[in-house]
Amino acid sequence: MQKILSDRKAILLFVGPALLIYVVIVLIPVVWSVVYSFQEGTLLSGFRFVGLNNFGKLWGDRDFINSLVFGLRYAVFVSTGQIAIGFLLALVYTFYLKKASALVRTILFFPVVLPTVAVAQMFTKLFEITPQYGLVNALLDAAHLNAWIQPWLGQSSTAFVVIVIMDIWRAIGFYGIILYSGLLDIPDEIIEAARLDGAQQWKLVRYIVTPLLRPVLVTAIIFSLNGTLKVFESVLALTGGGPGNTTMPLTLYMYKTAFTVNQYGYGSTIAIFLTLECLLVTLFFYRFARRDIA
């Protein structure tokens, strides 16, 4: 193995194709985006250099600020839900269901493999109010809770709640599995020893399981936050960013700016901001994890 890894040709063979694809599909477009962010114009009429104008424009753009705030709020709620419920599921798999957890794990993982658009369609129907009640409003109607019947997707406050519920539901199976695999790596002897020392339930989770699971937990948080900060298709399919632009994350605002309004330069600037935002969040949690390990 050592011999192969010291062979430059072998390294080129292993890394080369992946690196080539990464450079062509990821790095070049990113660099291109950076260049566009200092320009303004359209593909047909050409571009002109505008310096830092696009970056200055960000802070005076109310729609950008609204999208940024929505995206952050969404990321906090959804990532918290995904990790917290995923963690609870992992604990249930490990300590209660044990070997019988395979069926439950499969069922809960099922939404992860469903197409986002199909899930969004299902939630649209679930929370429908017109032309007929969806399941949620029908149940409220049957329970005579008429005051609770409302256009869930037609008003910004409740649309946000529906998006959060949908994206937590879609991903908890995934985070449940990730954290479950982390839990499996904790030696049974440690758990047993802790129990003998009197650590039961909450104390066992708080003082033994969580610290040992922390590296996997941090990885899951980084995965989750990067996914939620860049949320796009679920919001597009469920609300289209509406009503108005009250449920519009930065990704959707960037897409509309670049491809509907044809402001490629400003759209690229928003994309660069989003990249930096994800990078900062990732670095923060890496730092947090490394300090913890040290």
Binding site: I4, L20, L44, S45, T130, P243, N245, T260, V261, N262
Partner: protein, 430 residues
């Protein structure tokens, strides 16, 4: 050593894969493929007319193949830009009639329809009034859009429902609101509105504003003679907001899509429906119009008291802008265009009852009743106005639609705020 033999093998595989991906699909020798990139997804309306006529014409053109590709409106602009840059625009394609079309014209990507049709000897097949409307969106550059439809917009209503409640066809806005109130009190949704699509909401703003300021209202806004913050426009937004808050559009109209709103009207669950006459394809179809074609009536946008608009002013358009590309044009394509579009008006009218911007030389004696009603109304038209966003820049068009949803769903978003935000987007000039 093994690695050394393996490396060239891998490189060959990668290169072959890239070549396979990049290679264009094989076509028969000398075959001409005529492609139509259309935002109308299904084989209905003008898609159907062009498809049927093409099939007829291609019997004499064995080396020509016609293909239609559907595209979502949201993805259209980007796709057109990319295809234009690669000099690969399809023969015919849908396009927004705003700044992008002007760029395409200025950079020579598209053909002037007047010049082309004159050269092909079929310019006489175009209705001059429709051609003038089709040319209106490109700031004096000429005729570049094919007038595949000639639509009037206005309110379609359920005659039976009006009769059941002793209501006359409204001629003033207040009469229309009074009728809406009667329906609402009787548990009938007054208007079907596809608020999820956004543009059906802003149609009400254009309708009211053009009745207040006259048929040139939006042209005067474009030219800076009127501001959207002027009282008549704010009044238009307030009327729309009041209608929504009164429940005339039903519960949560912003979640209703186009097809569902149309079904509400066609199935007798809404009394009125603002829409263009392109929906004759649905109203003339007994399978879709369950209330019965004979039960559907039409009235023009009612008058606003003290306003400058008249009942001879109609919202008229030529439907989805369809363009002919210069890259896809050659002599064979010219023959195909001559064959298809010399018969277009007759075929559309006589098979689908569809009114187009092409002349009808051999009209059928048996036109659908609603088609006749639209033709009669078109005959009375003295002035035409376009839709709300017709002269807006792309940013203002987005703001107009997005914020119209807020206007009818968020009690805290005022009519003044809507028009102020929209005027600001217009002033950006992007």
């Amino acid at each position: 050593m093994k690695t050394n033999r393996f490396l060239p093998f891998m490189l060959v595989i990668i290169v072959m894969s890239l070549l396979l991906v990049a290679a264009p699909p094989a076509t028969a020798q000398d075959e001409v493929v005529i492609t139509y990139l259309s935002i109308l997804q299904d084989d209905v309306g003008f898609n159907r007319v062009i498809g049927e006529l093409s099939a007829q014409c291609l019997t004499d053109m064995p080396n020509v193949r016609y293909e239609r590709e559907g595209i979502n409106l949201d993805a259209l602009g980007q796709r057109i830009d990319q295809l234009a840059l690669n000099n690969n625009l399809p023969t015919l394609f849908s396009a927004d009639s705003g700044p992008q079309l002007i760029e395409l014209i200025d950079n020579g990507y598209v053909l002037n329809v007047e010049e082309l049709f004159t050269e092909l000897g079929i310019y006489d097949s175009l209705n001059p009034a429709a051609a003038a409307i089709a040319a209106a969106g490109v700031q004096g550059r000429g005729l570049y859009a094919l007038p595949l439809e000639l639509n009037i917009e206005g309110f379609w209503y359920n005659k039976q429902m009006f009769a059941d409640h002793d209501l006359d066809v409204p001629t003033t806005w207040d009469e229309m609101l009074a009728a809406a109130a009667v329906f609402h009190e009787n548990g009938i949704q007054a208007f079907a509105l596809a608020g999820r699509e956004k543009w059906p909401i802003t149609r009400y703003l254009a309708a009211y504003a053009n009745r207040v300021y006259g048929a040139d209202a939006m042209v005067r806004v474009r030219d800076g003679e009127l501001m959207l913050t002027d009282p008549g426009f704010i009044e238009a937004a307030q009327e729309l907001k009041d209608m929504a808050e009164s429940g005339y559009f039903g519960v949560s109209p912003t979640t209703l899509d186009y097809g569902t709103a149309l079904d509400l009207f066609n199935q007798g669950r809404a009394a009125m429906y603002y829409m263009g006459s392109w929906e004759l394809r649905s109203f003339n179809d007994p399978a879709q119009a369950l209330i019965g074609t004979e039960n559907i009536g039409y009235f023009n946008v009612p008058l606003v008291e003290g306003g400058e608009g008249t009942l001879e002013d109609f919202s008229i358009n030529v439907g989805t802008t369809t363009i002919i590309s210069s890259a896809g044009y050659n002599e064979t394509v010219g023959e195909w265009i001559r064959c298809v579009f010399s018969q277009y008006g007759d075929h559309a009218m006589n098979t689908l009852g569809m009114i187009t911007g092409f002349n009808v030389n051999n009209p059928s004696d048996d036109l659908p009743q609603l088609t006749q009603i639209v033709l009669e109304n078109l005959d009375t038209a003295n002035n035409a106005f376009l839709w709300w966003e017709a002269y807006f820049n792309p940013r203002a068009s987005v703001v107009a639609g997005d914020n119209a949803q807020l206007l009818i769903s968020d009690p805290g978003y005022t009519a003044e705020q809507y028009m102020t935000d929209l005027q600001a987007a217009l002033d950006e000039g992007v």
